[in-house]
């Protein structure tokens, strides 16, 4: 199996954008092609990670549209939909296409256009991933977060403030990310006094609704230096995907994300590393509680101890294990199909030493992209080539 390198990466500004999904995808795709020094018609495969362009704006067939806009014909195209983890699933598909030898040059572009919809409408599009017995009760992804947060705080004797500190940390990180939707600090008092959305969680415990796109270019590591200098590419040393139950209440332990556990074991095994070897991580903090769950289920901290790591500053940018240096979904924004791609973009920037004011010392980075409420997960490990 070929080892796979990432030789180009880009992301658009995340936030409320005038552009529609086709334009967002083209913006990120064009920039990633330029970053890798290639043209559209060099591509063998072109994947688009997108959850719901048909539901959000009535535009389907986005991979074909993007291939035409970037003059990438006759590249093989496919849309990767795995709800909020479409980006991670796209990374898996792109890696697989090169590792298997089916493609010598693959581009993945993730994107979503959401902000033209009201919060209620966007929430309902996302909630449509739930089982009928959940959907008819009006369950939303935020309400799953509220249910889980209450149980976590009770079971592990964690203070409510610890969740708020995730928001404070990630907003602080987002200030230095020129692509982030929110580039402003928030203090703990603001978080804890913001309106209740899903008790005990409040507005600042949730990521925003976002438009945006991100892109990555993959090739065999053996030819990476034909495109870019050695210090400008990263190696996908591990990638794993896993699925948990569709019905959230059927999980044995509601505070454990089995898909995170299983996908990370696969990724660690492929990379030949363990959680202690990870220098920096991007986790799917769609809700603050998810950063606790993932940091534990990835093996960074013991079960029930993730909140202490945040309290003690371990996950701060200058801590022992910086988490969400990009600002995370919380501050950077969460354009569904783009998020998993943008997570890997941030890790790519970190391990190639190109993260600017967000730069931390990192040889090995990990991205964990979660769909639904832990329903589908992809964990990716990147290492610098040097």
């Amino acid at each position: 199996m070929e080892r796979v390198a990432i030789i180009g990466a880009s992301m658009t500004r995340f936030g409320q954008r005038d552009a529609w999904v086709r334009e967002l995808l083209a913006e990120a795709g064009e920039a990633a092609l330029a970053d890798a020094g290639i043209a559209g018609d060099d591509l063998d495969h072109l994947y688009v990670s997108n959850m719901a362009s048909g539901e959000f704006e009535g535009q389907t067939g986005v991979p074909n549209a993007l291939a035409h806009d970037l003059a990438a014909m006759p590249a093989y195209t496919a849309r990767i939909d795995q709800t909020s983890s479409s980006g991670g699933a796209g990374v898996y598909a792109a890696w697989q296409s090169v590792a298997s030898g089916a493609s010598d040059l693959t581009m993945l572009v993730g994107g979503e256009k959401m902000t033209h919809r009201s919060t209620a409408e966007a929430t309902d599009v996302i909630a449509s991933l739930t089982h009928p017995v959940e959907y008819k009760h009006g369950v939303t992804l935020p309400s799953f977060a509220g249910l889980t947060a209450r149980l976590y705080l009770e079971e592990y004797d964690a203070p409510r403030e610890s969740l708020g500190k995730v928001a404070v940390k990630n907003h602080s990180n987002g200030v230095d990310n020129p692509h982030a939707q929110f580039r402003k600090e928030v203090d703990l008092e603001t978080v804890l006094e913001s309106p209740v959305v899903a008790d005990p969680l409040r507005l600042y415990d949730f990521c925003p609704i976002t438009d945006g796109s991100a892109a990555l270019v993959f090739c065999p590591e053996s030819v990476a230096e034909e495109y870019v200098p050695a210090d400008e590419y990263a190696v996908v040393s591990g990638v794993g995907g896993a699925t948990d139950t569709h019905v959230v209440h059927e999980r044995a332990d509601p505070t454990t994300m089995g898909g995170v556990v299983d996908s990370s074991e696969i990724a660690y095994d492929m990379a030949g590393i363990g959680p202690d070897d990870v220098d920096v991580a991007e986790l799917h903090d769609m809700f603050t509680i998810l950063e606790f769950l993932q940091s534990e289920d990835l093996g960074f901290f013991e079960k029930g101890e993730g909140w202490r790591a945040v309290e003690e500053g371990v996950t701060d940018r200058d801590g022992d294990l910086p988490i969400n240096t990009s600002g995370g979904l919380k501050s950077k924004g969460h354009p569904l199909g783009a998020s998993g791609v943008a997570q890997v973009y941030e890790i790519f920037e970190q391990v190639t030493g190109d993260a600017g004011p967000r730069q931390v010392e990192a040889d090995v980075g990990l991205a964990c992209n979660v769909g639904g409420f832990g329903n589908c997960v992809t964990t990716t490990v990147l290492e610098g080539s040097q």
């Binding site: 929430t123 017995v133 959907y135 009760h137 249910l147 009770e154 959305v197 019905v247 509601p254």
Partner: protein, 158 residues
Amino acid sequence: MNDTNADETNEGGTNADTNGETSDEPTFEAAEYADGTVTYPPHPVGPNGAERTGTVDLRAHEARVVTWTTSTATPPGVREPNTLAIVEFEMGEGYDGPPVRALGQVAVDPDDPDGGTFDVAIGDRVEPVHADELREPGAGIREPASQSWDGFRFRPVE
């Protein structure tokens, strides 16, 4: 534990008795599988791949609140606020399968002058109470004919 043989979820449907006759009493159907496991909602096969053998009416079982939340940002056609709970049913000493749980709305307290729902807390005993319509069909993105819209809310057991 097997109440009926059924191929599909029949929540809020009619209850088939041993004579094959039906009544209008809605049932709260979970599935039972060949290995004794019970799940709600029913699936074509059990979590361990075991064949589905019948159904269990969860109305016959008490439940306790595992966790709850009140959602204030609800989708189209959903009451606002919407208090939800995950409850775990007590399946009896003979049952050694995975926990049998359900997620559902908390019922409206008829004594609340503001029309609010019952207060619940983790560990509270609750019982299911049927509601004809849990949210407005067709107000959200899902095709109204694709699923049922009635079901069971939960209220505290006195």
